[in-house]
């Protein structure tokens, strides 16, 4: 038998077609990996860099705060806080809790009191440090980096919008916020502009479910409680599939409303 005859014989052994399920399973595995490996994936060197950056930021903030002392503000009374959980969903519908938070509403904005990232204590520590440092940094630098008239315009328009924390980025270190225009007067049970898609009582608070106009391939639904100053007790984020149906990718759910006596 010569070489070409052997090659011809070997060619008789063909491989079967690739099962269609392989691509789907790999894709599902990818989605699941994004929720479980993100913090572990941060290399040790980068973790050290982040920690160093936070220390430098904190030291700088301390120095500037000493140089430009602020007037002491009167203590703020918070009428209630809401404990929430943030979930992300894989393609197969399974979900993972990415974060727990305690927050409240003030002037249409959701203010974070504290948060934790389950199973990732380091992420919790870094996240809390960023939550404390970034707004302070922003306040300290705004006067040098943003024109006074722009700042004034932002302040004036703040009460015309309602915002909420909707989730966090892949590492869960940085929070994601969305804000939408307040609904016109007379539609105050809707809280924000959009299509009312239902009503539901959540944790004994009546809510209105609204889908704000977003366009593109993302759909959000906010369940807003007017008696809690339009706090969103539930928010879902869905992505459009190629066949036009929507898949749930993220959800924020209130677990408990703590009324201040």
């Amino acid at each position: 038998m010569n070489d070409s005859e052997l090659d011809e014989l070997l060619d008789a052994w063909t491989a079967p077609p690739v099962p269609a399920s392989l691509r789907k399973n790999v894709q599902a595995g990818f989605a699941a990996s994004q929720t479980s490996w993100t913090v572990a994936r941060v290399p040790r060197a980068r973790k050290r860099m982040i920690a160093a950056a936070i220390l430098v930021l904190a030291a700088f903030a301390l120095v500037v705060a000493q140089a430009f002392p602020q007037k002491a503000a009167p203590p703020l009374r918070i009428p209630y806080t809401v404990d929430s959980e943030f979930l992300s969903y894989a393609n197969d519908g399974s979900s993972v809790v990415e974060m727990y938070s305690t927050s409240y509403e003030r002037d249409g904005a959701e203010i974070l009191k504290s948060r934790s990232i389950p199973r990732h204590p380091l992420g919790t520590v870094i996240g809390r440090a960023l939550d404390a440092a970034l707004p302070l940094w922003s306040r300290l630098t705004a006067r040098f980096t943003v024109a006074p008239e722009v700042l004034e315009r932002v302040r004036r328009s703040a009460h015309q919008a309602v915002g909420a924390i909707t989730g966090c980025d892949a590492s869960c270190l940085v929070l994601e916020h969305y804000g939408f225009a307040r609904a016109a007067v007379g539609l105050n049970t809707a809280c924000i502009d959009g299509t009312i898609v239902g009503h539901q009582t959540i944790l004994n608070h009546p809510t209105t479910a609204i889908q704000p106009r977003m366009g593109g391939s993302v759909r959000m639904t906010w369940w807003m409680a007017p008696d809690l100053g339009c706090f969103a007790l539930r928010i879902t984020t869905e992505e459009k599939r190629p066949d036009g149906t929507f898949r749930l990718v993220q959800e924020k759910r209130a677990l408990r409303v703590n009324l201040t006596p």
Partner: protein, 178 residues
């Protein structure tokens, strides 16, 4: 940015492009090593997901992504072969555009060739599959198997010589012996 980096940063489109570019030869390789469609599917799936894990050792300076992926499939297949007996599915997937007689002969021949390849010593078998079925250059086979090209070449020659002997009775143009 290369596809592996982008996939590791969470970009699904990059991950799927990587999969689309490489999965077919990897699946064929896994199938021919294990003889099982189900095992091949599991191995290829694990191979791609392994690239996303923090402990993944892929280094673009040391090997191309294709070479790395073939190496992962090889290791996974060897693990499975250590655990399980061969599944023996060879030939069951043969095409369906032939007459029943042709089909039966074809399936029989396919099974014979598959068994002959599987009877080769492990390292010869891997070299033969990569060289013949995947048309991989000897130098790249050496990188997948951590061998120098000279060793790859000699194993390939031994594998082919052995197969010529085993399959001599089935050489094209010869009457099949009973």
């Amino acid at each position: 940015m290369d596809l592996v980096k982008a996939a590791r940063k969470g970009r699904e489109a990059a991950f799927l492009q990587l999969f689309d570019e490489h999965h077919l030869p990897l699946f064929r390789f896994a199938y021919r090593l294990t003889g099982s469609v189900a095992d091949a599917e599991d191995i290829v799936q694990e191979c791609f997901l392994q690239m996303l894990r923090p402990e993944c050792s892929y280094d673009p300076r040391r090997a191309s992504v294709r070479t790395y992926l073939f190496g992962v499939v090889r290791n996974q297949a060897l693990k499975r072969l250590g655990k399980n007996a061969l599944a023996g599915e060879y030939g069951r997937h043969a095409g369906n555009h032939r007459s029943p007689e042709d089909e039966a002969l074809r399936t029989e021949l396919e099974g014979l060739v598959a068994r002959a390849v599987m009877q080769l010593p492990e390292t010869q078998r891997e070299v033969l599959i990569l060289a013949h079925y995947e048309q991989m250059p000897l130098a790249e086979i050496g990188r997948v198997m951590l061998l120098d090209p000279g060793a790859v070449k000699s194993r390939l020659q031994r594998a082919r010589a052995s197969l010529k002997e085993t399959l001599a009775a089935y050489a094209p143009g010869l009457e099949r012996r009973p």
